[in-house]
Symmetry: C2
Subunit: 290 residues, 2 copies
């Protein structure tokens, strides 16, 4: 059996599948302290014989196997999880074969292998919600160089009429500071779902997200951009982003039609778990072929 | 023998080396029309038996082997070169084995294999001069997905006191529009070499370049950033960029010491030719091992 854990800041989703990735058992556990949450996680997996497990974790987390802190959640505001070696705990209790990555990298990989980017060699996956984060696939692999990408924190040009100072605790008016769900709430005093479609808020949102997509495009020219997360639930936002993106790039780049280039996820909420099972399966195959 | 052509907008540098990349013959030819320039290029190479050649070309050029326009220079303002199939001309006259890439990708690869980034698996190389361009190496390979990167055209947050509208013909105030050599000249009415070290111009320059480096870092987290080109000749600019970069990132990212992270090229003007010879050598090795 294969196992997957999507370890998020509000919930842990755990699943078990057969080798063909058919899900056999699944559970959702609230995120509390490591001790409480993980004891429920271990209970769930104790009913199954797990050959390998894929863990997509919230972060920041050290996913560099060469690092001394490999597997540790690092500078999170959730103090009970700070400097906690989540990887080792899972290896000790569930299986020694654990493939670790960030939650967004794992979701990006699932969309790449089984979702919107099937048939491509590269893509960028961005989720816009409580935070803004994402994963990058190049040459069919997840990009982790010096560390994992932090796509949500890039700098963009501010709208001239935007007086909001931004709410990223590290960078103030980076993309996340200007365009995450909480930034929208703080700027307009309304949750995104309560803002009417014709509210100027959506023009701001589209402008910042279009610039971010333009920057990813100009930096690595991926074949596809996938936009997910709660903020994208607004019915017209995707079209506004596409239109601002086209106008920013101004035909400089030889790109596919924008409708084929900027898309929504194909796997929805399942991406994290499917991605976890995929990296578990690949870890097993690599280890077996060695 | 191996051949290399660094095909730039003002000059073509051609070289011949032995299999160990020792340069045996070299020539510099002014860039005029394809007919005039290439006839001098072909003359030079006619004295040598070339087994494979690496071409780093100015662009925009189509370097996607799957494309119908593969090898064509595309939307250049140099009208005689527009829609010219430079790859095929060279294949016909010098050698059927030609490895093609952009001039900046080839220079990036040379710095990666023989220069500042030796021992790394990833880097970003940026050159700041008449234009701003660069190449990206990830997992030891040049990044070319949908097309080649255009690092110079990303969007950055404008300095509040910057009244210059930007001079990029496509994007107005993208990085190149705000921070290239011609942008400096237009904003301050002085060439970069004539601007004193304590001129505010260098604070502007450092602010925009630091943002760009922050954005590449947050997007792909390379192990090294290499900054070259004529504008970098200012003695204090590198330090100003480093200091602004550190302040922008604000300890969010777990990075090496900035002095080890943002560096100047090791190969100087030789990068283009060394890179050309390297990709020629690798093409030959791939073809021979097949």
């Amino acid at each position: 059996m294969l196992g997957a854990i999507e370890g998020g800041g509000t919930k842990f989703v755990c699943a078990v599948s057969d080798p063909a990735l058919n899900i056999i058992d699944k559970i959702i556990i609230e995120t509390e302290s490591p001790k409480i949450t993980l004891s429920s996680v271990f209970d769930f997996f104790s009913n199954h014989k797990i050959k390998a497990l894929g863990l997509g974790s919230f972060g920041p987390i050290d996913i560099n196997p060469k690092s001394k802190q490999y597997g540790y959640i690092t500078s999170t505001p959730k103090l009970e999880w700070k400097n906690f070696n989540i990887l080792q705990s899972i290896k000790d209790k569930i299986s020694p074969k654990v493939a670790l990555n960030t939650d967004v990298n794992v979701a990006a990989y699932a969309e790449f292998k089984r979702g919107a980017a099937v048939g491509k060699d590269s893509c960028v996956y961005l989720t816009i919600g409580t935070g803004i984060g994402g994963g990058v696939i190049i040459n069919r692999s997840i990009v982790n160089n010096q560390q994992h990408p932090e796509l949500g924190h890039i700098f963009v040009n501010r709208k001239k009429d935007d007086t909001f100072s931004g709410n990223c605790p590290y960078h103030k008016d980076c993309l996340e500071g200007l365009a995450s769900g909480p930034a929208i709430i703080k700027r307009w005093n309304k949750t995104p779902s309560k803002l009417p479609d014709n509210h100027i808020a959506w023009e701001f949102e589209a402008y910042y997200l279009a610039q971010a997509i333009a920057n990813y495009t100009l930096t690595i020219a991926p074949e596809l951009i996938i936009l997910g997360g709660g903020v994208m639930n607004n019915a017209n936002l995707l079209n506004k982003i596409k239109s601002q993106f086209v106008s920013l790039i101004n035909n400089y780049f030889d790109l596919p039609n924008v409708d084929q280039y900027i898309v929504t996820p194909a796997l929805g909420n399942e991406a994290g778990i499917i991605g976890g099972l995929l990296i578990a399966k690949e870890l097993l195959e690599t280890k077996e072929s060695k």
